[in-house]
């Protein structure tokens, strides 16, 4: 190891870094700040802005720290008189045509140009000519506005599209003083990753339409939470203005998950939180009409209605759990059904995938395993649509030398990156997987990573799982099985299913009867308790309780509507599709009149004369850690800010015969309940954000 290290000094500080490290990175390691505009740590260096200029002893001219690799014995000076003078001159050049409209610029207050001008600039310009003027507020895409005057031509945005997302949209037009950012003619920049360019723009040249002029940075408080819009679980900072209004999401870099980037669905999926259409009071059906009621009335009515039908049999009360609820909420709902409602009739409209408790070998892959893999096999997956940041991770791995084998039945943006494609027929999974094992690409001894979309198991889960396990066996090379992971579609599908599986196994054994599926229920479903999702309600259903943030079509059919808080107001944990348990933190208080799902479940149980031991999400999580085998030993402290993958059981299941008992039940549930015309996300994005209450006095 020692021979790979290079010794150099930066500002007199001795540093030892691996060979090939850039001077800028070496300085970071030595905790010496060298300013950068054009360089971005996740992308290749360019050396366009020159602000990182340093002096290297023995070299005739100054050099840029972001493009120069270290060399043995190098002596770098980043802030001696020569380097400082040069940097001040560069700063002066950068500011020549910058409009200095900082008071009306969205970046003002968190702008690198402002900060570095103060730190390294001269303070007074000698430029006396008129500034260059260019177009302002140019609409270049669905989410982005470009201000050409503010642009310092660092090209981060252009390179992000071309190099990182590999989805070019922004380009440099013209040369020299006429150079500017633009799009291809008549081609708006509508990439689903376009929001990242706003975040990485070092000045206010690219601004987000949704955030534009909504707030100034110093008014914002950031909450470290996670994105609830897909199962990747990207880490975000939720910026809240004046403690009330969520005004933007930013990436909170977690290299294990998102590599510091977000998709636009996640980045802009917050406007519904501030919607004026949110429910703020419980509703109770009286004489056929939904009328506002107090919480006590509504909870009493809900409890009464559910209790009235509970005696009809174990399946009389059906509970439907959204796959976007937290683990704690799902766990408590399972417990509520088991111990209070006496009904095992609980389901979540999720897809099918092999549960980690039963099939650890089909849940072994982490996102990080993509990097350094030799072969990536995607089965039926379209991550661009369903797990966009996973798509970025795949592209990154491919740039790192991995090969992609696509088993596909529809076109996706990854087609052009695939080294091999195999037509997939979901009804004949075995044939496609056999073809994959025979594919020339599969004949390598390196790391093979397989990700399958949950929909391939939709038609026949047990057979599909068997085929996948067979694939694991056939792709095992040199004793090393391939790493396999499921790609689900909703943020906490994995966690909710694991919680429901666990509550069935654990809590159910004491009080009520064995797990009853709808088909076994004597008198059929008579009451439905729907939490956080939409579902088809049978005509003959007597009593419906809906717990949601909006008056959805399902809620309009309900007898009792309980207004619930959104993810931005809730605390809990999510389990991502790679099995990473991460914490969701509340950015704001629940909208007055609404309560968090967890609080409502606890209150409803209390109304049904059942006092749960756990009254907060921390306590529920402790209960989960004690009761759910996969989560044994986890604590909120261990999860920290970046989460951790829940450990997999080491013992493999005995045989294929012990398929999870709810496989059939799940399938029926999906077929009947998967009626949502669009995922909650589209609702989120379409809701307008116009809520701006005045300052209370």
């Amino acid at each position: 190891m020692a021979e790979n290290l290079v010794n150099l000094t930066i500002d007199g500080v001795p540093v030892s870094v691996p060979n090939g490290t850039l001077i800028w990175k070496a300085a970071q390691m030595a905790q010496i700040d060298i300013p950068i505009y054009c360089y971005h740590p996740k992308m290749k260096p360019l050396g366009a802005c020159r602000i990182c200029i340093v002096q290297v002893e023995g070299q005739p001219r100054l050099t840029t720290a972001c493009t120069t690799p270290v060399a043995e014995g190098m002596a770098v000076h980043s802030r001696n008189a020569v380097a400082s003078e040069a940097r001040a001159a560069i700063m002066e050049f950068l500011l020549i045509n910058h409009p200095l409209d900082c008071p009306i610029c969205d970046r003002g207050g968190e702008c690198d140009l402002q900060d570095f001008a103060v730190a390294y600039g001269r303070g007074q310009s000698r430029f006396i000519e008129d500034k260059k003027h260019a177009a302002k507020a140019v609409d270049i895409g669905r989410e982005i506005v470009l201000d050409r005057e503010r642009c310092i031509l660092c090209q981060r945005c252009v390179r992000f599209g071309e190099e990182y997302a590999q989805e070019p949209g922004l380009i440099m037009i013209e040369r020299g003083v006429k150079m500017e950012i633009g799009t291809f003619p008549d081609q708006p920049y509508d990439s689903i990753f376009s929001g990242n360019t706003v975040e990485m723009c070092p000045v206010g040249a690219l601004t987000s339409k949704r955030y534009r002029f909504r707030a100034r940075p110093w008014e914002l408080t950031a909450t470290s939470t996670i994105c609830p819009h897909c199962p990747v679980g990207c880490n975000i900072k939720a910026d809240v203005r004046l403690g009330r209004e969520v005004v933007r999401f930013r990436s909170r870099e977690n290299d294990d998950v998102d590599d510091g980037f977000l998709c636009d669905r996640g980045r802009y999926g917050y406007t519904f939180i501030n919607s004026l259409d949110r429910l703020t009071t419980p509703l109770l059906r009286k004489d056929g009409e939904l009328l506002p009621a107090t919480w006590d009335e509504a909870l009493a009515a809900a409890a009464q209605g559910l209790a009235n039908v509970a005696h009809h049999g174990a399946g009389a009360v059906q509970t439907i759990v959204a796959p976007t609820l937290t683990n704690e909420e799902a766990y408590l709902l399972g417990k509520l059904c088991r111990t209070v409602l006496g009904s095992g009739n609980i389901t979540a409209p999720h897809g099918n995938f092999a549960l980690a408790a039963d099939y650890p070998e089909l849940n072994s892959a982490a996102f990080n395993d993509l990097d350094g893999a030799n072969l990536i096999i995607l089965i039926g997956a379209n991550p661009y649509q369903h797990q966009p940041v996973f798509d970025l991770r795949v592209k990154k791995a491919l740039r790192g030398g991995a090969k992609l084998l696509l088993l596909r039945d529809e076109t996706s943006d990854l087609d052009e990156f695939a080294a091999g494609t195999i037509e997939l027929d979901v009804s004949n999974l075995d044939e496609a997987l056999q073809a994959a094992t025979r594919h020339p690409l599969a004949a390598n001894d390196g790391r093979i990573v397989v990700w399958y979309d949950q929909r391939i198991l939709f038609a026949n889960p047990s057979a599909g799982i068997a085929v996948l396990r067979n694939l694991v066996g056939q792709l095992t090379r040199v004793g090393q099985p391939p790493l396999v992971g499921p790609l689900v579609h909703f943020s906490n599908e994995v966690g909710v299913r694991e919680m429901l599986q666990a509550t069935r196994l654990r809590l159910g054994q004491g009080g009520s009867q064995a797990w009853a599926t709808r088909s076994q229920a004597g008198s059929g479903t008579q009451a439905i308790y729907i939490v956080g999702t939409e579902a088809t309600v049978p005509e003959d259903c007597q009593f419906v309780v809906v717990q949601d943030s909006f008056l959805t079509d399902t809620a309009k059919r309900a007898n009792v509507v309980l207004p619930a808080a959104t993810f931005a107001e809730a605390a809990g944990t999510y389990t991502s599709t790679e099995g990473r348990v991460q914490r969701l933190r509340p950015a704001i208080q629940p909208l007055p009149g609404s309560r968090s799902h967890l609080d409502i479940i606890i209150a409803l149980a209390a109304t049904l004369n059942e006092r749960f031991d756990s009254a907060s999400y921390e306590q529920v999580f402790a209960e989960i850690a004690a009761n759910v085998p996969l989560y044994n030993g986890l604590t909120l402290g261990k999860l920290g800010t970046k989460g951790m993958r829940r450990p997999l059981p080491s013992a493999l299941p005995a045989s294929l015969a012990d398929l999870p008992a709810d496989a059939a039940e799940t399938l029926a549930g999906v077929a009947r309940l998967w009626t949502r015309s669009s995922p909650p996300l589209s609702r989120a994005l379409s809701s307008s954000c116009s809520c701006s209450p005045a300052l209370p006095t």
Partner: protein, 206 residues
């Protein structure tokens, strides 16, 4: 014995005061003029072209130690702008019960839009009516005063450049609408679209 004369002496002082001119005035019929730097009720100023000076930058609310100013900014309609530049204050409220009349907002304002003026009689029967809205604070159309900002401005030394807001060494402003808006020099003819340079390339309109 001398004490008797003390009483007479004291009464003499009293008598002498009776004939002096009184210090008090009969407020509210009579009022004294306030000094020019009095910090009373705020005024939001306009340019002579009737555009609002305020650009909704929120620097006043950031400077406010009493958290009395609430602003929501919005994007100007470029054909019918409220203020020069791209941004204006859609909501501008000052809670006069919170305000401590320190004048930091006036100092923070880059455009001279908000000043504290001589009006000090701020009373109401209801707390809610003490939140002054933008409509209450704005000076009427057709007026374009600078307010107490002129009274506070220290006289510049002889020969000094008095126009240093625009950061070029000539101290001159080059006519760009947005820069002008940001530094309070947007007293330009009302047709900002004519002042805005357009891009050389045709922009896609998605």
């Amino acid at each position: 014995m001398p004490r008797m004369f003390d009483t007479v002496k004291g009464l003499g002082i009293t008598l002498s005061h009776i004939f002096r001119k009184a210090d008090t005035i009969s407020y509210p019929e009579q009022r004294r003029p306030h000094p020019p730097r009095t910090r009373g009720r705020h005024v939001l100023h306009r340019y002579e072209n009737e555009l609002e000076r305020c650009i909704g930058c929120l620097l006043c609310s950031a400077a406010c130690p009493a958290n009395a100013i609430f602003i929501e900014a919005a994007e100007n309609d470029s054909t019918n702008p409220t203020s020069p530049g791209e941004r204006y204050a859609a909501t501008y409220e000052i809670d006069m019960l919170r305000c401590i009349f320190c004048g930091l907002c006036e100092q923070a304002c880059p455009t001279g839009a908000v000043t504290l003026e001589g009006e000090t009689e701020l009373v109401s029967f209801a707390r809610s009516s003490m939140v002054y809205t933008k409509e209450m604070l704005l000076e009427p159309r057709g007026t374009a005063t600078r307010g107490s900002i002129l009274a506070w401005a220290a006289p510049a030394p002889a020969g000094a450049d008095t126009d240093l807001h625009v950061p070029d060494s000539r101290g001159q402003f080059d006519g760009a609408w947005t820069t002008a808006a940001a530094v309070g020099k947007a007293n330009l003819p009302v047709n900002p679209s004519a002042q805005r340079p357009t891009g050389r390339t045709e922009e896609p309109q998605p």
